[in-house]
Symmetry: C2
Subunit: 310 residues, 2 copies
């Protein structure tokens, strides 16, 4: 597996800044103004990247007027078709399940030079939706995944420096317009992020292993305890090891259901590999293989220690 070319936050690169300011300077339309959408709005405001930041509430979301009051947004869309038509850049920062319907809604009004991105944590499914709904305009879509999540939700926890020094993945499907990809990369650079470009397929495999798998294992552990008769006693004596390991099991069940199904193939493969790792460990313990067991544990311990020191 190869990783695509990396573009740093070259916010002082004159040529690219020129492209950014000439092509993207007028209107930014954000669907879903929560932690991610709100943090983008704050940074765009600080750096004066757009003349106008317009928000659209996610389906089932609260009214956004208070965000105009607080100057996070310039306005809330009250003529969506017109706002789509006039937007230079559209960011869809809603839950992943709403991306398809939003793309379908956008399609009829979309102008030729408008760039569209999302911020979802799976990419193959989003690309699939974009291809289906944007049809001949699919080359205007480039997917994003800013690695800057949190268990906390909502515009109230947004912060302008959320993306500073964070990894941002941009997907490069073969149909994508190169200039659009470059523009998006510049945009995330302006947000302070460290951009890497790769395919949606490679993205989903990587995040299956480093994010989706640990989340699902945390849910597994808590349910193992749920299924024991002495659950109350177990939870009483659970200490810091359990706390850190299982913290991510408090995450949204709906979100993790969607991710599990969206990234089904890679996740099933990783769950199966994890069962193999347990089987290896079981064998070492059953055989009382002192040296083998110590080597197995030391191998992991060394990797983890080196990682944290990076």
């Amino acid at each position: 597996m190869t990783t695509g070319k990396k573009l740093g936050p070259n916010s002082h690169d004159t040529i690219s800044s020129f492209i950014l300011t000439t092509l993207l300077m007028k209107t930014l339309l954000i669907f879903g103004v929560g932690l991610i959408g709100g943090s983008i709005a704050l940074k765009v405001r600080e750096k004066k990247l757009y003349e106008s930041i317009i928000g659209v509430a996610r389906d089932g979301g609260t009214n956004l007027e208070h965000l105009v009051g607080s100057r996070m947004l310039d306005s809330v869309s009250n003529n969506l078709n017109e706002d789509i038509k006039n937007a230079d850049f559209i960011i869809i920062a809603t839950p992943v399940a709403q991306i398809g319907p939003i793309l379908a809604k956008i399609y009829p009004y979309l102008s030729k030079n408008t760039l569209i991105t999302d911020v979802g944590s799976t990419k193959l499914d989003v690309i699939h939706e974009a291809r289906a709904h944007l049809k001949d305009k699919f080359n205007q879509f480039v997917g994003s995944h800013p690695i800057a999540g949190s268990e906390k939700h909502g515009a109230i926890v947004a912060q302008k420096d959320l993306f500073v020094n964070k990894n941002i993945i941009i997907t490069n499907e073969k149909e994508a317009n190169f200039n659009q990809t470059k523009l998006l990369s510049k945009f995330w650079g302006e947000m302070g992020g460290i951009v890497t470009i790769m395919s949606a397929n490679e993205h989903d495999k990587i995040f299956s292993t480093v994010s989706h798998l640990p989340h699902l294992l945390a849910f597994n552990l808590v349910n193992l305890i749920n299924n024991k008769k002495n659950k109350g006693t177990l939870l009483k004596f659970a200490a810091s090891g359990f706390r850190d390991f299982s913290r991510i099991a408090a995450s949204s069940p709906e979100m993790w259901r969607d991710i599990s199904l969206a990234n089904k193939e890679a996740i099933l493969s990783d769950l199966s590999l994890f069962q193999n790792e347990i089987a290896t460990l079981i064998k070492l313990i059953e055989l009382n293989d002192n040296q083998g067991l110590e080597d197995y544990l030391a191998n992991a311990s060394m990797t983890r220690k080196n990682w944290i020191n990076n």
Copy 2:
């Protein structure tokens, strides 16, 4: 499974305090003065529970003279046989593997009323060693497990309030002298701990599930990544979910090898139950069972959220 009676930190209980001060007031001998042994020494000093605190370095440990200089200890043992004979209370706070040899060394010199405990995180193996080495004096031994560990080691990180409001398990084997168990319970109450008495068997089953299992799964996850060709890329994009989940995989390989083998039966059972949980999840994902998957994840999420609120 039932959990034994609980004794709170009744440090103002006059009768019990009387027993403690009359029977345990002279000499405390600590084998292994690290985080746990050192924290005990500091609290004993603060509360003036013993006239003399004597330290013995663990096998392969550094010289302890500097701890006399800093007043954590009154002295370092230079006539061990004599110090064993005169000790009112002996605490073995070394790595678990050294407990057997220390008990064998203690046995010939042990006085009739001396209470002995350890602080190991597995209990069946320690009880087994104590029975083998203390023979007719086994009823003077009562095992302890203070739930107050850390990845940090050594007397340098010791703190007098380490045990305040922490759970402390005391094991009650059928041969144990009731007064000795009561004394030990009082002692941990003086340290600020919340004492629960249970059998070594019940202890080991509980800690297999809430501590040993999550640790081993963290090692498994890191090794799954170690075994992938794109290990470097994976570690580059690993974020906060991976960080918290795998933190405990940086723990000592030797210690976790010893724990895995000492608590073999319960750990093998839990690893097998965990494989069943993964199999359940795999099936839900394979079937695209939206509702079943959400229920499974919500069940864990709710338990975890309620736990953290306790």
